[in-house]
Subunit: 402 residues, 2 copies
């Protein structure tokens, strides 16, 4: 027997958070918080205040007073609240793509310098497109080769597959923590260990996990990580991304985009480039302060709720979606792991007609997204999604499939 | 005899625009609109509305409805209103630093591919630090050399100096349209002609001119340009930058940061990277939509006022500052061109004690900035600055110097 949504919502210790998001009071079913999270209601006012008081009132003085340090300060907050990273290793700015480029270049240049035989980047065929495109570009410009791990699009990279792919030629391994298609939650500690055992560096893309799934970067001694902030971190469309570089590596790595913010003394405006010590050397241009305001509101909520409680609700939400799909959508295949321990914050349901079904659902204010092959992707943002919303959404899928 | 500020304000056809900025009703003297422009008052409400209605209401649908095209649509607006660039050649996103990196790499790789003898980047010693740092990095990674033009810090690069520096070894010339220290307004048409005559590409940095000085990129057949939007374009601290690539070059150039937004079909999520045709191939990651909202408000004001009228007021403002400095600050040297035809939107006054003077002025809510050697930089943002503000500010400098 399927538990009722009302029972689950009544028992949900995080239910009260839903009211703190814009639009949660409407009938819209939002199954895409893993692509663009809802705004935190407080962010709307906070942005107006920022314009009038911080920017408009302090003007250029804001840089000295707080903005200059914001990329690393907010990076530290993010590290503490969501990434399991001690201070001094994370920074906010740029896009995920630019961070991927900078950190891949830093990593492969370091690997090749240390051991010229390390000429391969290991990456999987279902890695997020940007990661693959950036890796392709970096490999081409540095004369390296890509070694592909073929993965099942309903799953992701296993430790056994990685162990087979890495070796003395591996410079860098690039992996997604949660696969964007299947929601496969990679075994980050074990895969990191496998990469390290082969003498390779590893770069984790946390786009689909940060804010929904606890990440323990320091505990696993991860080398590098990047992620966006507009999914479960609710920073708004195109909000700035983040990068993480393990402290033990920072002084050994150099990144290619040498801007004034990464200089040892940005206001020296001297003749040559000297990289800053620590995490700041991985930054480049003037930091996007306005774009960080909404993210700060969300990070406060994540800290208040606690990332472990968020994960518990996330598991409950995706499990409920799977339970409802099993019971009411017999024609559909689950294209995500059934075991919640290896599943991230979304669930993908496969059926030949899902492209057309997605379009029909959108017309009815039920908003999942579609990913080939035949995948209806149901993203469940833990703090803003209710079990009732899941129930109504799955019922709408059933109706659209009829 | 010095004209009074009241007379000048009364005769100013753009005086009415001042009230449309946050904080213009206070006594603060703001001499730093060339570093961080004041917010347009409408932007504060617009951002709140964006969060509640656009982001919060449309959610992921916003990408299909308008955001996906915003980087190039806003680029086109910017081109028409301020850059003298026909549609399809400008895009907004990233930071100036990242644009500099992408376009320098695209340019030098193209030049070397076309003619392997072209192994030099020509740049001046007083070019903005980020431009020099990026050029230094690009030269190092591509095995090129930098050829430096030594310039007077009270002036900038002349056509004669450039003609002497360029030749058959030049791949790319990197120049500032308005020098950040002296406000020297480079002869963009003539310098572009000199670079082209030597067979070189030219990249103009418009950070200190866009929005205050008319730019005619197409008319001079400029190859490449970049600029920020937080100075005279009032986009807010760290608002996204812009890049321009002349249409005749777009399909021949490839940039290094291959992200999903620059792919021919971003949602194909296919196996390999195929650059988009046209300007979009120079974009990389998810565009920073929230960061473009304030800039749109300012562009509307610039269009309403007209860039030529803005330039006329800018000349009047800087000329008035020079006139007052001549009359009341005998101990000070003008470290900017005296001829307004070759001066941008700011004026630099030199004196040994200016560092200390700047600190003292800040305590009194008079906000210029300081640039070595001994330069008090007075930035006069045409739409938000009154002649009265200039008069009060110069009087405060006189007092602080006493």
């Amino acid at each position: 027997m399927v538990t009722t949504a009302a029972q689950l919502d009544a028992a949900d210790p995080l239910a009260r958070f839903r009211d703190r998001f814009v639009g949660a009071d409407t009938d819209l079913v939002y199954f895409d918080g893993n692509s663009l999270g809802r705004p935190v209601a407080a962010a709307a006012d906070r942005l107006g205040e920022f314009v009038r008081q911080d920017w408009g009132g302090r003007l250029i003085r804001g840089w000295d007073e707080s903005w200059m340090e914001l990329p690393t300060r907010l990076g530290d907050d993010l590290g503490r609240i969501a990434l399991g990273a001690a201070a001094g290793q994370s920074a906010v700015g740029d896009s995920t793509t630019v961070w991927l480029y900078k950190l891949m270049r830093a990593a492969v240049d370091h690997a090749v310098r240390t051991d010229p035989r390390r000429t391969e980047i290991v990456i999987d065929t279902d890695n997020f497109p940007t990661d693959r495109y950036v890796a392709e570009g970096v490999a081409a410009e540095r004369g390296l080769t890509l070694r592909w791990i073929e993965v099942d699009t309903s799953a992701g990279v296993t430790a056994a597959q990685l162990a087979e792919a890495v070796g003395e030629r591996t410079a860098l391994v690039v992996l997604n923590h949660v696969a964007y298609r299947s929601a496969w939650l990679a075994d980050l500690p074990e895969l990191t260990r496998v990469a390290h055992a082969a003498g390779a560096l590893v770069l984790w893309d946390l786009c689909h996990s940060a804010g929904a799934v606890p990440v323990a970067l320091d505990e696993s001694d991860v080398d590098l990580a990047v992620g966006c902030t507009y999914k479960y971190l609710n920073g708004g469309p195109g909000s700035p991304a983040f990068g993480y570089v393990n402290a033990r590596l920072q002084d050994e790595l150099t990144q290619p985009i040498q801007g004034w913010m990464g200089h040892a003394d940005p206001f020296l405006m001297g003749p040559g480039y000297t990289p800053a010590p620590g995490m700041r050397r991985f930054t480049s241009g003037t930091p996007p302060i306005l774009g960080m305001v909404a993210m700060q509101s969300m990070l406060e909520l994540v800290e208040e709720a606690g990332i472990d409680a968020i994960r518990a609700k996330s598991v409950a939400l995706t499990s409920y979606a799977v339970e409802l799909a099993d019971a009411t959508l017999p024609e559909v295949t689950l294209a995500s792991p059934r075991d919640p321990a290896i599943r991230g914050g979304h669930v993908t349901l496969r059926h030949d007609r899902m492209r057309e079904v997605t379009a029909r659902l959108w017309e009815r204010d039920v908003i999942p997204d579609y990913r080939d092959p035949g995948g209806l992707r149901i993203g469940l943002s833990p703090l803003s999604t209710s079990f009732d919303e899941v129930e109504r959404g799955i019922a709408a899928v059933a109706e659209a499939l009829r």
